[in-house]
Symmetry: C2
Subunit: 355 residues, 2 copies
Amino acid sequence: MTARDPGRSDRLLRALMREPVDMTPVWLMRQAGRYLPEYRALRAQAGSFMALCQTPELACEATLQPVRRFPLDAAILFSDILTIPDAMGLGLSFSEGEGPRFARPIRDAHDVAALKVPDPGAQLRYVPETVRQARHALDGACPLIGFSGSPWTLATYMVEGQGSSTFRRIKGLLFDDPKTLARLLDVLVAAVGAYLNAQVEAGAQALMLFDTWGGSLAPAHFLRYSRDPMAEVVARLLRHREGRAVPVVIFTKGGGGSLEALADTGCDALGLDWMTSLAAARARVGDRVALQGNLDPLALYAPPERLRAEVAAVLADFGAGPGHVFNLGHGVLPDVDPEQVALCVEAVHAQGRAR
Amino acid sequence: MTARDPGRSDRLLRALMREPVDMTPVWLMRQAGRYLPEYRALRAQAGSFMALCQTPELACEATLQPVRRFPLDAAILFSDILTIPDAMGLGLSFSEGEGPRFARPIRDAHDVAALKVPDPGAQLRYVPETVRQARHALDGACPLIGFSGSPWTLATYMVEGQGSSTFRRIKGLLFDDPKTLARLLDVLVAAVGAYLNAQVEAGAQALMLFDTWGGSLAPAHFLRYSRDPMAEVVARLLRHREGRAVPVVIFTKGGGGSLEALADTGCDALGLDWMTSLAAARARVGDRVALQGNLDPLALYAPPERLRAEVAAVLADFGAGPGHVFNLGHGVLPDVDPEQVALCVEAVHAQGRAR
């Protein structure tokens, strides 16, 4: 890694705990990925996306690539959100342009009863091992974030068998057999809790729960099937390690209507998509949690001056004071120009000083 | 139509104006459509979806089918949201399972400069003619709703050329050439205003603006490019006809974060998707506008008892008092059982009495 910058080594962790920082920290969802030529080379070397995730030396390298290229304030474990169901035996694969697919999806009470919580030290060992190697290689240059999919999001993929636009199968379970759905979520709460704690024990300094599909639920269903299981996960987590807090961030895409309920999970910060105003969110929950976000990912295609203005608008929307981590409202898209990412990171640091 | 029911003939219009009603009115987005066997027969007879839209006798029949089968409190014009760009010469077609596509999408300032506001009495004549026939055939049994896509939603389809998950092209225009986008929206404001007024003059008794893609925008962009053009449309509309108000409903899917701004457009009611709590929305804007919605469309697949309970939950979420029109939070899906729609409508009327 580059020469040690004392700000870079902990401004993310400070901001997530709503402590003052020298400048607004920034990292980007999917900062490791196809938009980077060095990632595409690594992916080709691995042979498949899952081989890349499951080979700690290669996954460690993918984790490091973006923080080597850009002065980002955090690295995030390179992995997939569906490693847990894969370790449960559902048979995860990725077909080109179609996203994830499970060979053996979960369809009924019988399938749920057969599920076992995977041991993060056995089937999932490659994940904490990647964390260990990445943390060692980072050598304190910037913090390392661990992550998992949320129980509801994992359940959705497991039951649908793949992505969905209507969520017909998982909502079928919700309406027809809510007890089986509750049992599935219980297993996933235990699995996600153990998985994230294994990442903390291996060196992860902050944790993120990606609730990609929570926004598909009506508010009452969201509380019961997405929010409550995330609160149960948070209650299981190791929250202190190496003499400091391990902050937990929850990101529900499309969750802008339920920020108060999300802040009640016991997390330290909320990730926001770009459809939610930081100012409005701060007025609602900003005295309880830090906020992370929320530039429209499409702004990375804008001309440089316009991109700088959009970054400034996000910083102004949050306003003065601590508790803001700059990020996109969703992941970096595969055909973004890396120069635009450089410009975005530079603009945050130049404009977001001393909060 | 069936024998005249004095409640059915105007409870929708009363509820949209926040006047007391004998029972909660109900209609369903996409209540005419593929889930009805009589619609599939009509579609086969027409030969193509656009031929069905463009033949007033057939489009009138499609409009009437659901209100003949179910005691719904409104009919809605059977048409497509993209008739305006089609009349502008963009060449609309529908490929099986892929949604709409334009042969000649709008890509730059030159394309926008060439656009002309279509005359609703010429290229689009089939739409007011369908309204006229349907209004006559309904004979006062229930009100007839006219509609259009919102300027932003039309612009999105026109520039993308089809649906999109990232909105790369329209947001490219927004960031690279906002003046051209503003000009495109100006043309669409004029076109949508004239189109909706022609529907009112032909007999439409309420109007709906479908803002399908407003929810893809960051809040500041939403105000400028989706909300403001809708407010400009509303300002152009005929709001009184045949001695009573012609209420205007705005539905922005994913617009739950901007309800106050939407209520400021001058509309009479807001449509809500199922991710937004009616109670929370009512607390925010319910003294200014009526609310329409918002059962999760997937609840139509639930067992009967559960479907009744979900209907009751929506009614309870709104609470007592006038100003609620029951609807789904999005359209009826193509493989729903018509018996479930019957059960839903019956449950609303049975449970939503005297508001």
